[in-house]
Symmetry: C2
Subunit: 216 residues, 2 copies
């Protein structure tokens, strides 16, 4: 910190707007196809690098996937895993699952595969010795930063996790010590909502606050 | 979404303030001891529940740790793990590691242990079949939401990961299917900075942008 710098004060207006940002952030699966300015994507990724990371290890690696053959491989991966997932549901839940749109892979103009670099020495292992999963957690913080920043700029993000991660790594030809954390679809959303799609469609409602807070 | 609701627009002032929030969020290890209003803690946790979660599974569980014996057990856990970690460094890195203050357990007025409930059926397994770690990732998103919201309200958060997670679960007597994601110290920071302490103290600098973005 240079001595001239004054910490910012976040006033009530900002507090309200930040809460609105959380409320209106969505996992988006319906995208418009118009392309996104590359400088905006770069800016979002640069902001995501301000996320916290264990030992300042900064293990996030973003891969912009634009090659049609690689995109097709990811799509096939998703289709297989989603068909297998459908078989694990029965009755009404199976019927509902089959109607859900769980990925925006066909329409989203930007695809970002996000990895954790487990081979990097950056951070010198500080903080990840007893809980090595904290490196992946750092990548999640970067992804969520990008997600919020995208929403501020009118973009939607959809996190696709219905993938075989090993096959995705192979399709994207990444180094062997990278692990897949998320495959993100990014683009302008078709619609905006303050309610999760899985709530609106009756898959899963929000939990009561009492269920998440405990005392010891 | 009720039909009357209009999606918020996040103007340039908010964009700049949000970036300042990311820049000034810190992993805090030096806390003032004055207590935090319980209603503020509740509000921060309520906001964190707006985080994304796989299949809307909301697997986050927050445990407020105030019992002195339990806090002492966590402190002992940290001391043991930190001493073991020190032994893995040599030379200048060992000397520097020994000088780092890696937890604010003694001074922080609020301790929050955050868990993932792996036994909950909420979300009905959607999206976590091929990547079960996404449940933990959802908890990370909630933690990071709380972290940003805390900073807005003038509070600092320090993530302690130098712990044996199984021993921490035992010390806090949580259900067997909960896994520890983070142990958070929360309180008013002694100082504010726009630079990570690990950068200032010469442990690990920020990476160049070129190292994190790739094309396929």
């Amino acid at each position: 910190m240079t001595t001239e710098m004054v910490p910012p004060r976040f006033d009530e207006t900002f507090q309200r707007q930040f809460e609105q940002l959380l409320i209106w952030r969505r996992d988006v699966r319906h995208f418009r196809r118009d392309p996104i300015d590359q400088t905006l994507i770069d800016r979002l990724i640069a902001m995501s690098c301000l996320a916290p990371s264990v030992g300042n290890s900064q293990p996030w690696r973003f891969v912009r996937v634009s090659d049609p053959a690689r995109r097709a491989a990811i799509r096939a991966n998703f289709m297989t895993c989603n068909a297998e997932a459908l078989q694990s549901y029965h009755g009404e839940k199976a019927r509902l699952y089959a109607t859900l749109k769980l990925a925006g892979l066909d329409d989203a103009p930007e695809h970002l595969a996000v990895f954790c670099d487990n081979g990097s020495e950056t951070g010198h292992g500080l903080g990840s010795r007893t809980m090595p999963e904290t490196k992946n957690f750092s990548v999640v913080a970067a992804i969520y930063t990008l997600w919020l920043a995208a929403r501020i700029h009118g973009l939607g993000v959809g996190w696709v996790s219905i993938l075989d991660p090993a096959q995705a790594c192979e399709a994207l030809d990444v180094p062997p010590d990278w692990s897949l954390v998320a495959y993100l679809c990014v683009g302008r959303p078709v619609e905006q909502s303050d309610e999760p799609e899985l709530v609106r469609l009756g898959w899963q409602q929000r939990e009561a606050f009492e269920k998440v807070l405990f005392q010891r």
